[in-house]
């Protein structure tokens, strides 16, 4: 039916005694979920087709001769549905007992324990004691290649993994072999999941501990992990993720649903690139003095001296090196300080780029982008130009010998020599780790990485996305925006600097028209597009050109 701007058609039905209104075409399972009623299910996944094969989500529909699979039964006007009728509960109890006939019940050594849907459902609705006394069939463990291990005995045969590879990855590398209770998931012949760049998602969607990550295997128990909404820093797609942390270390990344960005998915490259966040050897306190005269000090002292020095040099030529691993707030504060200090002649960043993009065929919005940093587009909008090669090195012509002010944030200058910045009137180095090329820095300031603070990135779609703080910063490290914002405000002589991340964001919105109209609270955990996202990405694309 044509919808000439009219409201989409809806149907009204009753689920467990509650009136529910949903758009036409909604499944009973989704309709119930919308009303806060979870109907147990395994084979159904919102990002995949629904084969209605697990037979767990059967519900009672008044007038239907038998229980209906709620995942594929479309809600009808006036329908009366009971997800918790005696018949439905009895049936589910039976299905959960069936699942345990061959299941090894090895929860104590299973990685999924604590977040396993079999454990949860059986505990909630299953029989207290199983009646299956027969010997169980045993498959053992299979290496599927890549990061994926398969424990066949735990598999509930929901075929989510098979359907993900076929429907979403467009790369059908998994299949069901054999039939009946001998059925098992397998790869084809010698080719496994190695090199399939989105295969890690099968571990996420496996409702039980059948598919596990080798990298995460036996590393942490689910209930010991803290989950923080964040954004993947692997590339400029900015997939929404959760950082799972324990002992102040990131243990793994899991995708967080965002239909505008990454659906339910993320790529393996992003999933696996988090070790840098945990890298030891951090700068823990501010230092002042060049080379052998370098001494640790405290923030009060270092900020006072740095402020004095900036005032002495006021009006000098300033070169700024930023990094797209840093959020907008830090980069904007870096820019603000540079502007307050003198004549900014160059604002650059260096960042690695992949040879190609890597799109996810079944969810075309998700593309592992060429830019392998989360905030390349934000940096572009804030006036930073790309410099250097596709491995994130080189460029910086004449910077090493610059004699004005040199401000470096986040770039470790790995390819630069110990002579770097030797002739600079003032060389300020803000980073997480010390570097040989920072030997001539007058001030070395420890700052937090993105996981140790909150803030925003702009992704390749021109979407501003917020992430939250997942880790405690080391020593006295501070967010760059806090350090730089205080200095800039003192130098420019205007009001008190922002003391919270929302204030830092507001300051950048005020200073940069591209961000106009955005509100930190409104961004929430899902983010929001820039007012002119198209122009923003075009600008970013322009500055990306070699």
């Amino acid at each position: 039916m044509p919808d000439n701007g009219r409201k989409p058609e809806t149907v009204a039905l009753t689920i467990d005694g509650r009136e529910v209104v949903v758009p036409k075409g909604t499944s009973l399972l989704q309709a119930a979920a919308g009303a806060g009623i979870e109907v147990p299910h395994y084979c159904y996944h919102p990002g995949l087709s629904a084969p209605a094969q697990c037979r767990v989500c059967l519900v009672e529909v008044e007038g239907a001769p038998k229980l209906q699979p709620s995942c594929v039964t479309v809600a009808q006007d006036g329908q009366v549905v009971r997800t918790d009728s005696d018949e439905a509960l009895e049936m589910r109890k039976g299905v959960f007992e069936f699942y345990l006939v061959n299941h090894p019940l090895d929860c104590p050594i299973c990685d999924m324990s604590g977040e396993c849907k079999l454990q949860d459902y059986v505990f909630a609705e299953g029989r207290e004691h199983g009646r299956a006394h027969e010997p169980k069939r045993v498959f053992g463990r299979d290496d599927f290649g890549g990061d994926v291990l398969y424990y066949g005995d735990r598999c509930v045969m929901c075929t989510r993994c098979v359907r993900f590879m076929e429907e979403v990855a467009g790369d059908p590398r998994l299949t069901v072999v054999e039939r009946g209770s001998r059925a098992v998931i397998d790869t084809f012949f010698d080719q496994g999941l190695e090199g399939a760049s989105f295969a890690g998602n099968v571990v996420d969607i496996c409702p039980v501990g059948a598919l596990v990550s080798k990298e995460f295997l036996h590393k942490a128990r689910a209930w010991d992990l803290d989950h923080t909404p964040s954004v993947c820093a692997g590339c400029s797609q900015g997939c929404n993720v959760e950082l799972h942390t324990r002992d102040n270390l990131v243990q793994r990344l899991k995708p967080r649903e965002n239909q505008e960005v990454n659906g339910h998915w993320m790529c393996d490259y992003g999933r696996e690139s988090y070790e840098w966040i945990n890298r030891p050897g951090r700068l823990e306190s501010p230092q002042a003095g060049r080379g052998s005269r370098r001494k640790p000090t405290d923030w009060r002292d270092v900020l006072g001296r740095l402020h004095a020095r900036l005032q002495e040099l006021r009006g000098a030529e300033v070169i700024v090196i930023g990094s797209p691993l840093w959020p907008n707030e830090g980069l904007a504060a870096l820019d603000a300080l540079a502007q307050a200090a003198g004549q900014v002649s160059r604002r650059v960043f260096r960042s690695p780029r992949a040879q190609d993009e890597d799109p996810l065929p079944g969810f075309p919005l998700l593309i592992r982008r060429r830019d392998l940093a989360p905030n390349v587009d934000g940096a572009g909008l804030l006036g930073f130009d790309r410099d250097g090669s596709d491995v994130g090195e080189g460029g910086l012509d004449g910077v090493a010998a610059h004699d004005g002010i040199l401000l470096v944030l986040g770039d470790e200058l790995r390819d630069q020599s110990e002579e770097f910045g030797a002739s600079a009137a003032l060389f300020v180095y803000l980073g997480t780790h010390d570097s040989p090329a920072a030997a001539n820095a007058d001030f070395v300031l420890p700052v937090t990485n993105f996981a140790e603070q909150e803030g925003t990135f702009v992704n390749a779609q021109g979407r501003v996305q917020r992430f939250q703080q997942a880790l405690r910063p080391p020593g006295t490290a501070r967010p760059a925006w806090l350090v730089l914002g205080a200095l800039a405000a003192a130098l420019a002589g205007n009001g008190p600097p922002p003391s919270r991340a929302d204030g830092a964001f507001a300051a950048l919105v005020a200073a940069h028209p591209a961000f106009a109209g955005l509100d930190y609270d409104v961004l929430g955990v899902a983010g929001a597009p820039l007012a002119d996202a198209g122009a923003a990405t075009a600008a970013a694309a322009g500055q990306r050109a070699p």
Binding site: A52, Q53, R55, L67, F98, N102, S181
Partner: protein, 430 residues
């Protein structure tokens, strides 16, 4: 050699030529009146053919007994998308051996039925999905099909009518589940033979996503005769609700097992005592499975007044199914029979649905344990409950098909189970 056994009470519309190699050739078949059905159908037109089959009361011979003309009328009338006819020749139901005989003795009868069906539903392509083990039957059918193409009876411009119908043989790999209609479609498409959830029904979204009708071999064979003689003619046999004749595959403890074509409504005891020459060694009747392994087992008492038509067998507590009558005398070991069925269903379950995948194999293991004398009475309760959980809860009815014999055997032959459980005694010698 004459066909194994004949009986004068038979009405051999479809099976007259069984055992007669001359009927396999196109000339031989034409001499016996063959291909007049498709000729008449082409003459009276599509809608009249469907109407004829509707009027005949013919019901699907694949097991479910759905009225064939009604099924054909579900096909969309607008001709924008290709339509397909699938002939289900996967015949794998334990105890069933009628389709094979139709194919190997009267291949042209089936081809004609396929042409009639395809024409009636507006399909220009018919696939015959053959069970993998039907080696001889497939060869016979392939040869006949070549003859039909050469004679202008298949392919382009059939009998000069301008109608085009291609017939393709597809040999399966020998899986029972590929006989389930949507499983057959998946298999034909080159996927795993896994049934699909309905709706969508095949008439809307069938094989290759197109409107599809699927019919059993015997259904189509009978339809060829209906097309030739008209619907009213067919109703002279059978009952009001079960018209025409049906091939009964009789196996087990009778003197003359075999295929017998009888009018529907024929008394079961007369089939056993008269047509099949009575019980082997004059032994007493213990049980009958009237419709293939998927239906409830009947005890001797239920057989007494049972008439072999859809409604008659239902009234006697079971189902006509595909009319595969398995007769068991007092030497039959019911527990073993049911366990063997459970092994079969556990082996053939496609494994998609949890109640079927786990239930069939669990039931098989419990039954095996009971058979080995290590069962308990609690096991019978468990079996009953498992079976209930396997009924009406899955995508296809394979799961229900094991539940039926388990439930009925425990209800009707509980003492056989108890003898094993309590005293380790097997009832029956086999």
């Amino acid at each position: 050699m004459a066909y194994p056994y004949r009986h004068e009470k038979e009405v051999r519309l479809m099976s007259e030529a069984f055992g007669d190699p001359a009927a396999r050739t196109i000339e031989g078949w034409r001499a016996r009146g063959g291909y007049q059905g498709i000729a008449r159908a082409l003459e009276i037109g599509r809608d009249a053919t469907v109407a004829d089959v509707k009027a005949s009361g013919l019901r699907g011979r694949g097991g479910a007994g759905f009225p064939t003309g009604v099924k054909w009328s579900f096909m969309p009338k607008d001709g924008t998308r290709p339509h397909y006819l699938l002939c289900n020749a996967d015949e794998s139901e334990p105890g069933t051996f009628k389709d094979r005989e139709i194919i190997r003795w009267t291949p042209h009868q089936l081809i004609e039925g396929c042409l009639v069906g395809a024409y009636a539903i507006g399909a220009s392509h018919c696939y015959i999905y053959l069970r993998g083990e039907f080696f001889e039957a497939t060869q016979v059918l392939a040869k006949a099909l070549e003859e039909a193409y050469a004679a202008g009876l298949a392919g382009k411009d059939i009998l000069g009518s301008g109608v085009e119908i291609d017939v393709t043989l597809h040999v399966g790999a020998g899986a029972y589940i590929c006989g389930e209609e949507t499983g057959l479609m998946s298999s034909l498409e080159g996927r795993r033979g896994e049934p699909r959830i309905k709706p969508p029904f095949p008439a809307a979204v069938g094989v290759f996503g197109m409107p599809t009708t699927i019919n059993n071999v015997e259904t189509l064979a009978a339809a060829a005769h209906v097309a030739r003689h008209g619907g009213e003619w067919y109703r002279q046999w059978g009952t009001e609700k079960s018209t025409g004749t049906k091939l009964f595959c009789v196996s087990g403890h009778v003197n003359r097992p075999g295929n017998y074509e009888l009018p529907l409504g024929f008394p079961l005891m007369e089939l056993i005592e008269d047509v099949c020459g009575g019980m082997r060694n004059g032994a007493a009747l213990k049980a009958v499975i009237p419709g293939g392994s998927s239906v409830p087992i009947m005890d001797a008492g239920e057989c007494v007044s049972c008439e072999l038509c859809y409604e008659g067998v239902e009234a006697a507590g079971s189902m006509l199914g595909c009319a595969s009558v398995v007769v068991m005398d007092e030497t039959a070991d019911i527990v073993k029979q049911v366990r063997r069925m459970a092994d079969f269903y556990a082996h053939e379950s496609c494994g998609q649905c949890t109640p079927c995948r786990e239930g069939t194999s669990w039931a098989a293991r419990i039954l095996r344990r009971i058979e080995d004398g290590r069962g308990t009475e609690d096991d019978l309760d468990t079996l009953m409950q498992i079976s209930e959980q396997m009924t009406g809860t899955t995508i296809c009815v394979l799961s229900d098909s094991l539940a039926a014999p388990i439930i009925s055997s425990i209800q009707k032959f509980r003492n056989d189970y108890l003898a094993l459980i309590r005293r380790g005694e097997r009832v029956g010698a086999a």
